[in-house]
């Protein structure tokens, strides 16, 4: 929430800077003293984890760029050169490659948390939309980064995905072909394509960082949502961000890094595909093209439709429908914990996304195709039918009177009214 500043400059130099560029005041008010609901659980730690992952990807990406060669002849070999010859190159590349997977793992958990606890509802719609925008930018960035390896999977993933645009030929003949050749810079995926994907792969993370700043800004106006889904009513409902959530986020981050490191050191290729260690060959398509795991649900949705144009439209809709969630959900109650009917539909939605992920990795034939279609229908029905209808017919459970009550229970709240664990920050002590 936009709260009154509690910053008090401690020295002449700090006062001098404060009246010129009050960055220390901003840091203090937004990241130390920021009043945060006292009941946030561990699902709320992924925002910090994601910020860390963006930093990891940018730092490792910049150093990898010092050795990578974005040409048709040089790309694959330069990646192998990084793996074999460059000092610590194997570590930097594995951190970057596994880091992409960990980044997506974190962003999906973060997104499902927002969906479950209704974090998209008023007054946090803009916050949610910026988040979906970051997700879209991440998808584009990860796709372009994967192409740079210039192995068989890289090459054919670029071919298949850029060819999606040629489906526009069904709308205006020639438009799709023209567009695809503009993307390729030629008549097929080749050197010019690789070079521009590289340029954009370097650019996009900084665009993401910019939108992340807006995302945090939009978060700090209404303040955090919380597991009870009710607004902060009194100062007792909050604790300062530091030390309470710096410690909690830090602990979660360490646990996350343990998993990350285990993957980097013990199973760096577990989530990859062996075909991408074969250099790109424009004359031979691998028998089974699959995207990285984090795109599999979308790939299953694309293949569920027999028509190329409708497949592409459905694929794009499956992500962009998230933009409209704040207005599709008609329930006044934010947290799914208090929604006895919606809860089950939500669980079915989580299962649907996992099932689509599995089906995306299988060939699109027989039962796999039938199931893919069934789950695709539910994926969209969840947003277009369940969200508006259940919100109207459902009778939610009684909400707690306050955030403090949701933590301590109604009796305790009344019995010890002064029990708020508000620890004074050093700045407050000084004042």
């Amino acid at each position: 929430m936009a709260h009154p500043s509690t910053y008090h400059p401690q020295s002449g130099a700090a006062r001098w800077l404060d009246s010129r560029l009050p960055v220390p005041r901003l840091m203090h008010d937004q990241f130390l003293a920021f009043p945060t609901p006292r009941n946030l659980n561990y699902w709320w730690t992924f925002g910090g984890i994601l910020t860390f992952m963006l930093g990891v990807q940018i730092v490792t990406g910049i150093v990898l760029a010092m050795h990578y060669v974005p040409t048709e002849q040089g790309a694959f070999n330069s990646v192998e050169h990084i793996m074999r010859d460059v000092n610590w190159g194997w570590l930097l590349r594995y951190i970057h490659a596994v880091g992409a997977s960990m980044f997506f793992l974190a962003v999906y958990i973060h997104t499902f948390r927002g969906l479950y606890y209704g974090s998209y509802k008023a007054p946090r719609e803009v916050l949610w939309i910026l988040g979906v925008l970051i997700l879209l930018l991440m998808i584009a960035t990860a796709f372009m980064g994967y192409s740079l390896v210039w192995g068989q999977m890289s090459f054919w993933a670029v071919t298949v995905i850029t060819n999606l645009f040629s489906s526009l030929d069904a709308v205006i003949p020639g438009l799709g072909t023209k567009l695809v050749q503009w993307i390729w810079g030629g008549f097929a995926v080749g050197g010019p394509t690789l070079n521009r994907l590289y340029a954009l792969h370097y650019l996009f993370p900084f665009v993401i960082a910019g939108v992340v700043v807006l995302h945090i800004w939009a978060l700090h106006i209404p303040g955090n949502n919380n597991p009870a889904g009710i607004e902060v009513k009194t100062a007792r409902d909050t604790v300062p961000f530091h030390p309470y959530y710096t410690i909690k986020d830090g602990f979660a981050l360490v646990a996350f890094i343990l998993v990350f490191a285990a993957m980097v050191f013990y199973a760096p290729n577990f989530l990859g595909h062996p075909d991408n260690y074969v250099p790109a060959n424009p004359l031979q398509t691998p028998p089974h093209i699959v995207p990285e795991w984090y795109f599999l649900p979308f790939y299953a949705i694309l293949r569920a439709l027999p028509n190329k144009l409708f497949g592409v439209i459905t694929l794009l809709s499956s992500i962009s429908i998230l933009f409209f969630v704040p207005w599709l959900d008609t329930s006044k109650v934010r947290s799914t914990s208090y929604r006895p009917i919606y809860k089950w539909f939500f669980l079915a939605f989580v299962i649907t996304c996992i099932a689509l992920g599995y089906l995306g990795s299988q060939p699109p034939e027989g039962w796999y195709l039938v199931l893919g279609r069934i789950f695709t229908v539910y994926y969209f029905a969840f947003f277009l039918v369940v969200m508006p209808v259940v919100g109207l017919i459902e009778r939610p459970r009684r909400l707690p009177g306050s955030i403090t009550e949701s933590v301590l229970g109604p009796e305790e709240t009344k019995a010890v009214p002064a029990a708020a664990p508000h620890r004074r920050t050093p700045a407050e002590v000084a004042s």
Binding site: W156, T159, V160, I161, T162, N163, L164, S166, S167, D169, A170, Q181, W182, I183, W184, G185, G186, F187, A188, V189, G190, P192, R196, P282, L283, Q284, T285, P286, P287, H288, I289, R303, P306, N307, K308, G311, P364, E365
Partner: protein
């Protein structure tokens, strides 16, 4: 800084009448918008295929060693070109089908008009119906269909089979089954002699 003491520009006094200042404002804004759009064009157009890619490279192919029933793949403009020397049975199989029943009834042959129907005559080389020359890129999402090598699975129609999403092409390269919307495209080409093809 201007204060309230600054005499008002008389042209700002009447707010209903269009004034000289309005005209200047709209004209300046319009020019800035057009100039901005014009400056944007080189930034966008640089991504289109460049002159070296556009220079309509031609490729000469010697096909004297390709026996009936065999096929070769060559590169043209960075794309694989399928050249198949068809057997009598394959030709008969392609002819023995009504064009109207095809998913894509157009020939997609760059050497003919755009509305030419997808008959076997319009798909095969002119006056040399045993030869079929096509761009070997699936019209669905751009994979390379199987069917060129002797041992390849050629699909139910004996032509080509795309392993990515299961599109099946017949012995004239026409889409018969699966998600691909169009027949395999035929590039501009001509026989320069009985054993040589010039593509492009």
């Amino acid at each position: 800084m201007a204060t309230h003491e600054t005499p008002l520009d008389p042209s700002l006094a009447g707010d209903d009448e269009p004034t000289r200042r309005d005209v200047i404002l709209i004209a300046a804004g319009g020019f800035a918008a057009i100039g901005g759009a014009a400056a944007l064009w080189p930034l966008l157009d640089q991504m289109n295929p460049d002159q070296s890619a556009l220079s309509m490279a031609t490729t000469d192919i010697d096909i004297s060693h390709v026996e009936a029933g065999q096929a070769i793949t060559v590169m043209w403009r960075g794309k694989p070109i399928f050249i198949r020397h068809r057997t009598e049975q394959e030709i008969d199989k392609a002819k023995d089908f009504a064009v109207d029943d095809l998913p894509d009834p157009l020939a997609r042959n760059a050497n003919l008009t755009e509305d030419a129907p997808a008959t076997d005559d319009n798909r095969a080389a002119k006056d040399r119906e045993s030869w079929l020359v096509m761009i070997g890129i699936c019209t669905h999402l751009g994979c390379i269909p199987k069917g060129q090598a002797v041992g390849d699975y050629k699909g139910e129609y004996g032509g080509w089979f795309c392993p990515c999403h299961g599109s099946q092409y017949d012995t004239a390269g026409r889409i018969r089954k699966g998600p691909a919307p169009e027949n395999l495209a035929i590039p501009p080409y001509a026989f320069s002699s009985d054993t040589k093809i010039k593509i492009g």
